[in-house]
Symmetry: C2
Subunit: 457 residues, 2 copies
């Protein structure tokens, strides 16, 4: 519990109804989608940038840790209040402030759910591409703080690519605006990108201006199954090399396929060793050609069955099946750990092979899936943390997989962030001097270290 | 001149042939495309990252200012060695190290000319969109340092959107690598974006990994002339609102049209008050529809003549005429000053009107052109700096124009950088606290202030 006078001050700032510290409330804000859990001392639900500023002034004066939280879907412990203190939950700052077709932008509060914005935009023929698996729950504030991405990264990039500007409350309560309302803006350093992906450790994001693009005219989806997972991996490289830029190019192994089928009965081919789900979009006349070309490549690479979604309903069902992936994985065994490395696309087959061999070596169940079109792999360890012997094998296998990604010139995390879960591997991917620079930038922006402390930084 | 022992050390590091300090050499590296001029004490032409590191170690020890230079096409004084010292010219680090179709990336040295890379890529069906007006001369190192953009920003964004990773030599000679070879990478803070647009004030970029996209299948261009410049401006807003995303959407006023015609005889309509040049690209079957829709909007908005380029040659000639814009402007009168503000697209007509009124008020010749599709205006003051009375009017008009852009929520610079030329207006666009943060980040990375000193930072 916070000191009495601090509690009173904070309650006065946000109003009693927006200050929670009953045990049952604190528990709800003590975890995210990772395995860790730490109970905060208070949860505050600010309603405005001004309130966040007031809260940060108090937190700064009293040196209280502050962890910003969207929907708590984070997969690396980014939203866990590791050093206790205050959780700033953005549930009540969930308004879309502006959608401008003329300026191709939207201004949103951080608590807006990604999927809600998508629905509003599609009504106006507009499109905001980043779509993390959690899009129907996760908030844009969280998406920005983690530089989230999703299925459409291959063609449409990541959250950072759609940021025009931010309002940020600094650690001491001062408010700054970064960027602006235009795509081109070189007025000073790019602070917008610096706050993006910083996991709330440099400042609290309270308003977001997003670049939008017109909604693609049409899309088509293809499902290609392979008797050999490696062949599926090689097919990905061939599609990318061919000059087609698919919106999404997803790879699933047989474990994943069967788990999805166990729970959803979508009709995925249970006997396939590897499955590619491919989405193309663009001008409606061009889709037939793109689909034909991809089908031909799949066939050349040995695809056994190729199915093209022929209606919007079939298309949606296909991607719904894919979106259920994480949910079904978590049901398979008591513990599910998702890795998130990326490798250069041409190294995808090598990485997949390595994961399979490591799974065999340590006798573990690792379901291998990938946003293959952008080299982002999500091996899921399906395990049981309460079994110490198996858990030791999991940690050894994880280390080998991560080392392999480093060896291939990959990245430790593509979209889930570092948080706490991946701290131990940072030195494999980041040079000491780069980490030192990041640490010093952290000190510039958060000299007392009160913003999301206890994480990798 | 540098001290004798420093000169000897540096010559030993880069080789005598790569160390220039004859007056005639120093003059060549004393200016860029702005009006200022400062002679450096030595020009070094490094051949490798290791050499740059050695140079920086010496510069750090001896506290010698170092200004990195690409082709010196900068329009804001970014490459002028304002505090003398060393110019690091990247002429000899001009190799394309890798083009990978499979990984959709290129790795280049900073001295590679943008246009040279474009040619190499187009042979392989690949595309790197950022195309500053200077693309046939300017280098990718300079482009990254300024976060340059160009004609294609409306659809394809800016240099930063295509950066996967950098090799950077820090002020004290240490070498770091930022980012990597994948689109998704959230391993630590986004230092790549921090160095992009920092005008060489945070580190020296010695290697660049660029994201590539497939070359668009086809493109078409449209030229629409208007008897009224405001109508041309409003047409831009209507095109953007319509859901079409043109590759380029350029606006020219009558002064610009006539200057281009005086020198190039391309056949632009001399009697038009405003001209739009519009490029669309994509699947070949979709272009006819896009062109028809744009033509219809132009007609609705009162276009007098609409001409569609019917062959690749006509298309190229049209854009060649546009690319000559800056060159012809500089010939018109003794002095040419290019502004570079951006405003939200819907405010473009208001900004154009303001510029016209200000030109009238101060009795000045201001040729107004814009990358209108992304709100980036380039009013060119055609003037004579040697006439003190006219120059006073120029400065007063400039201040009014810049203030108007600030009032409309625009940016001081869209793509030319701040350098020295725009320093005086920074406070209109950047909050004191943002500037303070930038200043402190500068101190983290360049504690002695030897990297490109004397500029806005």
């Amino acid at each position: 519990m916070l000191k009495h006078h601090v509690r009173e001050m904070l309650q006065k700032r946000v109003g009693g109804q927006n200050y929670l510290d009953a045990p049952e409330d604190l528990i709800c804000y003590s975890y995210d989608a990772t395995l860790s859990e730490t109970r905060p001392e208070a949860v505050l639900l600010p309603e405005s940038t001004a309130q966040v500023s007031e809260i940060m002034k108090i937190a700064d004066r009293e040196s209280i840790p502050v962890t910003a939280r969207g929907a708590g879907t984070n997969l690396s412990g980014g939203s866990i209040p590791q050093n206790k203190g205050i959780v700033l939950a953005f549930t009540r700052m969930n308004r879309i402030l502006e959608i401008s077709k003329k300026n191709r932008l939207a201004v949103v509060q951080p608590g807006v759910v990604n999927g809600h914005l998508q629905v509003e935009l599609s009504r106006q023929g507009l499109f905001y591409p980043p779509d993390p698996g959690s899009l129907n729950v996760s908030t844009l504030g969280g998406n920005v703080a983690e530089n989230a991405s999703g299925l459409k990264g291959a063609k449409y990039g990541v959250t950072r690519d759609y940021l025009l500007g931010l309002t940020v409350v600094l650690a001491d309560g001062r408010i700054i605006k970064t960027g602006g309302r235009t795509v081109k803006n070189v007025t000073g350093m790019d602070l917008t990108s610096l706050f993006c992906g910083a996991e709330g450790a440099l400042g609290i994001i309270t308003e977001i201006t997003l670049k939008l693009i017109p909604q693609p005219e049409a899309q088509r989806s293809i499902q290609a199954s392979f008797a050999d997972l490696d062949a599926a991996g090689h097919t990905v490289t061939h599609i990318i090399s061919s000059g087609i830029l698919p919106v999404a190019l997803e790879l699933m192994d047989s474990t994943t396929i069967n788990l999805i089928e166990d729970y959803t009965r979508f009709g995925l081919p249970r006997d396939a060793a590897g499955l590619l789900l491919i989405m193309v979009d663009g001008a409606k006349e061009s889709l037939g050609r793109q689909v034909d070309r991809i089908k031909a490549i799949c066939r050349e690479q040995g695809a056994e069955r190729i199915k093209v979604a022929n209606s919007p309903e079939e298309n949606d069902a296909l991607w719904e099946a894919r979106r259920n992936q994480f949910a079904v994985m978590t049901r398979a065994r008591p513990t599910c750990i998702v890795e998130d490395m990326t490798v250069p696309i041409s190294d995808l087959p090598a990485m997949i092979l390595a994961i399979r061999k490591i799974a065999e070596k340590y006798d573990l169940l690792i379901a291998c899936t990938a946003h293959a079109g952008d080299g982002n792999l999500h091996p899921h360890f399906l395990t049981d943390k309460s079994d110490p012997e198996e858990w030791r094998r999991v940690k050894a296998a994880e280390a080998e997989i991560v080392n392999k990604a480093a060896e291939l010139g990959g990245a430790l995390s593509g979209e889930h962030g570092i948080g706490m879960a991946k701290t131990e591997y940072m030195d494999l991917f980041l040079h000491r001097d780069s980490r030192r620079i990041m640490g010093e930038i952290k000190k510039v922006l958060d000299p007392k270290g009160i913003l999301n402390p206890g994480k990798w930084l």
